[in-house]
Every structure is written in C-alpha cells, then in structure tokens.
Amino acid sequence: MTDLLLEWTIKIAVILGALLTAVAYSVLLERRIMGFIQLRRGPNRVGPFGLLQPAADGLKLIFKEDIIPSQASKLLYVIAPTLLLIPSLMIFIVIPFGSEIVLFGRKIALQVTHFDVGLLYVLALGSVSVYGIALAGWASNNKYSLMGGLRASAQMISYELALGLSVVGVLIQSGSLDLVEIVRSQGGWNGMHWNVFVSQPLGFLVFFIAALAEANRTPFDLPEADSELVAGYHTEYSSMKFVMFQMGEYCNLIAAAGVSTTLFWGGWMGPGVETYPALSLAYFTAKVFVFVFVFIWIRFTLPRFRYDQLMRFGWRVLLPLAILNIIITATVKLLVS
C-alpha cells in the first residue's frame, strides 16, 4: 500500500510539473503563432526565441498588486479561480500518456490511475468547472463580469450535452468507460485502428466543436468577448488570481486535446508501440501538440459567433448530430454482429 501511495505521489508530482510547464509554453506558443499569423514577430526578446518569456511574465504577475474590489463578495471572489483551476488539473490523473514502460526494473503504467467510470469522471469535472466561472462573474459585482459569467455558464451547459452524447459512439465501440480500455480497443491494424477512422468521424467532429466551446475558445469565446465585455468574468481579477484563470483555461485546452486524442485518435497507439513501448509516449505527446496547434490556429482564423447563433448551433445542429451519430453507430454495430 505504501508502495502504491509512493508511486501515485511521484506520478502526480511529475504530471503537475509537466503540466505547468506545458501551460506556460502553450501561452508562449499561442502568442508566437498569433504574431506570425498577423505578420509580426510576437514575444522574442526574453531569452532565445523568447523562450524565457513565461518565466518573466510569471515573475511580473507575482509582484502585481492583488486587488479585491470593495463591492465584491470577498470569500467567493477569492475561491472562484480555485474552483476553475482544481477540476481542470484533476482531469489529468485518468489520461493515459503511454503504455507500460520499465524503469529501474519496475513496470510502470504511464497514467496515474484508471477505474471503471474514467470517462464519466472527466465529464463530471467538466460540469463542475462551470461554478468557477459563474461565481467569478457574480462575486465581482461588475456588470461585465456578471454578463460574462452568465454567458459562459449557459454556453458551457449547452455544449456539455453535445459533448456527453458525442462520446456514446466511442463507448459502443469499446464497451467500457475506462480510458485505458478505450485506448486498448483501438489497437488493431498495427496500432492504427483509431476510432476516428473506423466509425466515429461524425462523433469526433461533434466532440471537437463541443470541446472548443467548453474551453471557451474562439469562435465560442463570447464569455470574454473583449469588444463588448472588456474581459468577461475575469474583468476584476488581477495578479495571481488572474493567472489561475489563465492556467485553468489552458489546462482545459490541453485536457481537451488529450481527451480527443484518447477517445478518437488512438491515444498513445501507433505503429511499433508493441515492440518499443517508449514510442507510445512520443505518439501521445505529438498528437496532443497537433491538437493544441489546431486550437490556436482556429483562434486566429475564425471570427466570433453571435450569442443567438451560438445557442442555435449548439441545440439545433450539434445536439441532433450527436444523437444521429449514436443511432448510426448502434445500428451498424447491431447489423454487423
């Protein structure tokens, strides 16, 4: 038992460290790509290629004045960012980063844990993170914040439905909610039997769009639409509390990339993972990187939705498509059996 506890603790420490680094550098990556897309250089002064920029920004933000507006609900105002950050970090304990590798003569599975309701756990954390945003908007006692918080929560719950229904097709393929089992079910065809090729292109499309909306990314970034709401629900936040929102959002972005990879793009599966297990980690990282890049690319390519369009798209297009996907997958499965 102590052995197991030690293993979990080490894995969690490693994941937290890797995740915080990844978050810092995806912010930098986003700013650099934004620069290139807009024909300018982006941050390139601090360190080679601007690689030390995240550290400089972090240091600056720690020393910024921490403001609690006089009319805010103090307690809620302080805990709201933690309610967004904590669930977004907790998702990562069930994501399988690779198959089993041997380290120091010991077999180590490359995920912290896996259990029967793995995917439901991810969806549950996604649904709980609504509170952080809704309460931040309310606690700030600012009109822009409240409007941003309300918009964000209504948007997140609307697209959560499509998100939850789009994974049902994957479940019909794998017969399990355990993410490790879901990856293993995509192991055929020399590691290329990925759900997105086999039967779930429509499911993936719905999941991808819904995940963009869940993470409040463009074209669904109405909660922080700068031109109308200043900065949405975090208008009143400064210093490290602002950083926590930023971290939570980028964690959700990376989590969305990781879960899309796991469910639809074979997770760590790929040619040659049977013989070289370490390859699995490389495959997973590469796929997640591609997803993060696509998320950033979309941000600087597409304009923002209008709110009525957003609602209509979620409920009238995405939701019926998700249901259609379930019916098609189940029917094909029944006929093939």
Binding site: S127, V128, Y131, G175, S176
Partner: protein, 168 residues
C-alpha cells in the same frame, strides 16, 4: 485506512449539510449543498457503487445545482429574513418535531443489518460498475426505464408551461 476515510467524508458531508442551514446567504447554502453531494459521492465509491457516485456528480452537482445557482444569481434573492421572528409559535413546535426526527433516525439505524462488504478485489465488487448497472437496467428493469422517458418528456412540457405562463 478505509475507516479513516469514511470518517473524514462523513464529517465533511454532515458539516457541509449543517452549513446549508446556518448560512443566511442562499448562494453559500447552495455551494454547501454541492460540497455535501461531493462528499456523499466519495462515500458511494467506498460502497463500491462507482457508477452511482459518478452520476451523482454529473447530475446533481453538475446540473441540478447549476440550475439552483443560476436561479439565485438571476433573481438576486435577498438575504433570508429570519422566518422564526415572524412566527414565534413555530419555535415551540420545532422541539417535538426534532425529537421525532431523531427517534425515527435511530429506529431506521437499528433496523438496518450490517452487510458483508466484498473484499477489495472480489468479483462481487463488480455490482456497482457501469456494465452491471447497464445490463440490469435494460433487461430486468426495462419498463421503469421506458416510463422514465415519458416522465422526462412531461417534465420538459411542465417546465415550459410554468416558465412561459402569462407571457403570451
């Protein structure tokens, strides 16, 4: 280990439940209820009811309580005026009712027989998994399940009728 965890989660759930009653601000009460629900779902996991535990978070903490928080935020319900002050007589009714409730709780606790928990890696622990719940629900309990769909439909119509009353 298991006993220590049980005590922690039990204390958290009871404390959060008490906080629901003691808070004057309805938003804090709602959040305490979310805390209670999460602690209870940890207890469900310890009872091997894994699927129910996950559903508890998804549906209760993630949907029903979001609705509650929405209503509180949208209505901007003022801080609760002490109800007792307006109806002094109720205070004297509270004591016998509380006594009755405690007696009833004790009676139920005495009635329940302790069950043998399956050992940690027993096949019997598969009772609470998604697969076993799914198979049972859609074979043995088919009719209640189909009736549920009609119930949800009725709830949709009911919600619309109540929310849109007096608008047309």
């Amino acid at each position: 280990m298991e006993k220590a965890l049980f005590i922690i989660f039990a204390v958290v759930s009871v404390a959060a439940a008490l906080n629901i009653l003691l808070q004057r601000n309805p938003l804090y009460s709602a959040l305490s209820l979310v805390g209670t629900l999460i602690a209870l779902s940890a207890l469900y996991v310890m009872l091997r009811a894994q699927f129910i535990a996950a559903i508890q978070i998804v549906v209760y903490a993630g949907a029903i309580m979001v609705l509650f928080v929405f209503v509180i935020m949208l209505l901007n319900a003022p801080k609760e005026a002490p109800y007792i002050e307006k109806h002094k007589a109720l205070r004297f009714l509270a004591i016998p009712f509380a006594g009755l409730l405690i007696a009833e709780a004790f009676y139920v606790i005495r009635l329940v027989k302790p069950i043998q928990m399956p050992a940690s890696d027993d096949s019997a622990q598969a009772v609470g998994t998604t697969l076993s719940v799914g198979t049972k629900l859609f074979t043995d309990y088919l009719l209640p399940f189909e009736v549920t769909s009609v119930l949800i439909l009725m709830a949709i119509v009911g919600a619309m009728v109540l929310a849109r009353r007096g608008e047309d």
